[in-house]
Symmetry: C2
């Protein structure tokens, strides 16, 4: 029975996003926004006035509500499950708190080999059942109108949070472990790779139709360190995802000069930020692969709608209508982003460039 609450804007776009992920031709470029289930929406802010981040994450019906909000408001081509990259670390034994103003903080970060040895590997249906339940519910509510993306933090980005204990400017604790205790580093990455793989596979089983791996902090690394300390683990995640059969997107930022390396992760679609023209990025990745990006989120947050449209058209022109482009920002949508700018962006996908 159709759900009268759903009011999803874009009932015919189900195939569009999935086809683009696989490099197949589409009627227009699909678009969604990282962090679209988030603070730029007044209806999300209203939810967050009533519920803390932790409450939202642990209550599947609240997570589903946040997941559906952007899909109700805008004609976007995919939903992404409302979740966070860090609760997987809680399952492994780290204590996570969301501190108002300061963001996520881990009370017992990893500082020595014994901390890594102590990390547990628990099946996702025991450690993260609320995410899997939210995915099941969201699929039902979406009624096949747009596909649902599941996701996880990538091993390096999770390791960085686990070691630094929160955000970081220079990643000096991460790098101290990487260079100073490479065996400990590799053991940590082994464990995280297994946990991430299990989690992503469980999301597909629960109903996720595409998976995205967020390696938001990979841009802290030199190409040689990325190749040595990070890439092999991302490749193993890809192998694991391959076996699930759903399309796979690898996302990172600050990596514009090492896209040939991020392409070696082997995902179907490679994310790029705004620090490189889309056509150059696509050439670096290889045009047999999909590409996701690459609008500057600060432009979407601050520019007049006419500038947003002009910039979207520039990116679409650079993509040149080649199959395999998924329009997105180069990073998450900023909380202050005006709704009318998002509307203008989504409408710009229909323009004939």
């Amino acid at each position: 029975m159709p759900n009268p609450k759903s009011k999803i804007q874009n009932p015919k776009s189900n195939a569009r996003f999935l086809r683009a992920c696989c490099g197949e031709p589409v009627d227009r470029t699909p678009v969604w926004l990282m962090r679209q289930a988030g603070r730029f929406l007044p209806e999300y802010r209203a939810l967050r006035e009533k519920y803390s981040m932790m409450e939202m994450l642990h209550a599947p019906e609240l997570a589903v509500e946040a997941t559906l909000q952007p899909v109700r408001r805008f004609e976007i081509d995919a939903a992404i499950i409302f979740a966070d990259i860090l609760p997987i670390l809680t399952g492994m034994g780290l204590e996570l708190n969301f501190v108002k103003g300061a963001g996520p903080v881990l009370a017992n970060p990893i500082r020595r080999a014994a901390d890594v040895t102590a990390l547990r590997l628990v099946p996702p249906d025991e450690s993260l059942p609320f995410v899997l339940e939210a995915i099941r519910l969201a699929r039902r509510e979406l009624e096949g109108k747009v596909p649902l993306i599941g996701f996880s933090g990538a091993p390096f980005t999770l390791a960085s949070y686990a070691i630094e204990g929160g955000g970081s400017k220079n990643y000096t604790r991460v790098k101290a472990l990487m260079y100073g205790e490479p065996d400990t580093w590799h053991l940590l990455m082994e464990k995280l790779t297994t946990a991430v793989g299990d989690y992503l596979a469980a999301q597909v089983e629960a109903g996720a139709q595409t998976l995205q791996l967020f390696d938001s902090w990979a841009g802290a690394l030199s190409p040689s360190d990325y190749a040595r300390f990070v890439l092999p683990y991302n490749r193993r995640v890809t192998e694991r995802v391959r076996s699930t059969g759903v399309p796979f997107i690898y996302f990172s930022t600050g990596t514009s000069a090492m896209l040939p390396l991020t392409a070696q992760v082997g995902s179907d679609v490679v994310g790029v930020d705004w620090r490189i023209p889309l056509d150059e990025a696509w050439d670096a990745i290889g045009t047999d692969r999909g590409i996701q990006g690459n609008l500057d989120p600060a432009l979407l947050a601050t520019a007049p709608p006419s500038v947003v449209v002009a910039e979207a058209r520039r990116i679409l022109r650079e993509a040149g209508g080649r199959p395999g482009h998924i329009f997105n920002l180069g990073h998450g949508v900023l909380p202050q982003t005006p709704l009318e700018n998002v509307q203008a962006l989504v409408e710009a996908m229909d323009l004939d460039c």
Copy 2:
């Protein structure tokens, strides 16, 4: 009369750095570190226990002492005047404070066209006489043993500080002005370009033998925005510096995928961070130009000395002995960097790769 206090480690290296800036062959790759006159040195921290940042900046004899400290301790090939990129904004009418823990803060940031109109252009010998005097004194104390670098913030990076009022994560105020009020933006950049040009020319008159333009925040921009809103002003600074006859280094970070654009600034030497292999970077810049970089400062701060040496050798190998490479970090040396790592790095320059 020689100054017994000076004890400069590297009396024969004067020509090495300057020759490399001009792409001429050298006996070994010259090396210096951004922020070498800074907190990683115990003798600098001792100074800062007695004097505030403002006192250090305004007293030429203290600035000279900080300038000489790294040159006394390490066999590096250049001194850089101890100064800061922000006091130029004070001269223009903005009120600058260094807030312990929070870094520099501008009390009256630029928020509207009238703020830009109100900015004053004062000759540097009136607004920044203490820097020029420090340069004169430092040249005397250095006795020609290593060359002295003068510097300024680049117009974009100064504009960003002036608008944001301090550090920024997403540069949304800067971009709001750039996209929303382009005329105001261009007027601000015009004024800053004139102020920067005057300041750099005055530094050469006072004795600076090389100039570096710090565009540390250029990596916040997409290539198209850099080309449109920033590059033309940097090119005008280059033209102005050309007329002084000293070598010119343009430095930025997070710009690895747009080096062909930063090369268009037209400097003799182009700085690169650690997010791209040096050989690829040099190819992108053009091998007729010099290159400065590209060791990760977090590696220098955290790795064992053996790893520092291995990484330095990798970079030297990538440079391939071509004239025009100046070894440096990809950004400033971090305060926690061990002295022995810097010593190992400097000694690595003598290794036969």
